[in-house]
């Protein structure tokens, strides 16, 4: 029972529109998260500032650079896939996925540091003397970065799929992955981080 698919050129336009619609929805998903952050910061500016300076600016900036580079790489990869330049496409998609892995690894290092400093919300939270809102900041921080990382991992899986799909004996379902749509998704995850970065690391100037 096979699907009746429109011709390939129609399909890629439909796929692009479909992915953009999905991303519009994702904007609302993360938007809700940012809205909550904004309300929290509006109500507890001192608490958020006190907590914000405890984040690791160096690792955060590094991670932002990694993600921006991965966007650059995946954009080239998507173009290469469309032009049937398989080698460039494989390198590009694999490279982007690898950079994603670097991001996740750096994040894990950050989380480990935060754990040891007692910045995880809960009974072990160490900033008890800080103004109210410090723990709330970290609640937002962990929720938002975890959801972002989850989206990134999904992106990495799809990018790896696109890399494998360039192979000569790739199965049909893998080749059905729309490289352009996967790249769009990746860029969106990057855009979310572009806004997470100042929200997390640039709340207040550090001494």
């Amino acid at each position: 029972m096979s699907a009746v698919l429109p011709p390939a050129s129609e399909r890629s336009d439909a796929g692009t529109l479909g992915m953009w619609l999905f991303l519009a929805g994702e904007l609302l998903f993360f938007g809700g998260l940012f809205a909550g952050y904004a309300i929290g910061r509006l109500h507890s500016p001192a608490g958020f500032a006190a907590a914000g300076v405890r984040t690791d600016l160096l690792l955060g900036t590094l991670n932002t650079a990694v993600l921006l580079t991965s966007s650059f790489v995946i954009a080239i990869a998507a173009d290469a896939a469309a032009a049937h330049r398989a080698r460039a496409a494989v390198l590009g998609f694999a490279g982007a996925a690898l950079l994603g892995l670097v991001f996740v690894a750096v994040k894990a290092v950050e989380y480990r540091g935060e754990w040891h400093e007692g910045l995880f919300p809960g009974p072990g939270f160490s900033m008890r003397d800080a103004p109210q809102g410090a723990e709330l900041f970290f609640m937002w921080y962990f929720s938002a970065t975890a959801l972002h990382a989850l989206h990134l991992v999904i992106g990495m899986l799809m990018a790896s799929g696109c890399a494998l799909a360039q192979g000569l004996r790739a199965p049909a379902w893998l080749r059905a992955l729309d490289a352009h749509a996967v790249a769009l998704y990746w860029h969106f995850v990057d855009v979310v981080w572009i806004f997470l970065f100042p929200a997390i690391y640039l709340v207040a100037p550090r001494a």
């Binding site: 529109l17 953009w20 519009a24 109500h43 580079t69 032009a83 806004f195 970065f197």
Partner: protein, 121 residues
């Protein structure tokens, strides 16, 4: 068909610009500008996002329909700003923090005599 070399070149320029803006925002983050910090970091973030959207995501070549889809998402998100009509005028009245008082379960027997409406038996 679009010009392949110039697209890669555009991507490279965009990438360098993004890295530059990242450096700028991190640097400005060290200065004490009060509200200016928020304005600066937000503006730079919007600029970076715009570059990713316009160049990497191909918005500059996109159809009107795709632009409309993206705009619709942004527009509806902006509508949520109406919630500020609630949050801005409201102020917290801080009270001393009290531990939540958990009542005993009702099935074990009425804890408070006034909690149930009188029912005819």
């Amino acid at each position: 068909m679009r010009d392949r070399p110039s697209r890669t070149a555009a991507y490279a320029v965009a990438w360098l610009a993004l890295l530059g803006l990242l450096a700028a925002t991190a640097a400005i983050g060290r200065l004490h500008l009060g509200t200016g910090n928020l304005v600066a970091s937000l503006s730079i973030a919007v600029l970076k996002a715009a570059i990713v959207l316009w160049i990497f995501m191909g918005m500059r070549h996109a159809t009107a329909l795709v632009r409309l889809a993206a705009a619709a998402g942004l527009f509806v998100l902006a509508l949520s700003g109406l919630a500020l009509a609630d949050f801005l005028p409201r102020h917290d009245e801080r009270a001393a923090w009290q531990a939540p008082h958990q009542l005993a379960p009702g099935l074990a027997g009425p804890a408070e005599p006034a909690s149930k409406p009188p029912s005819p038996r």
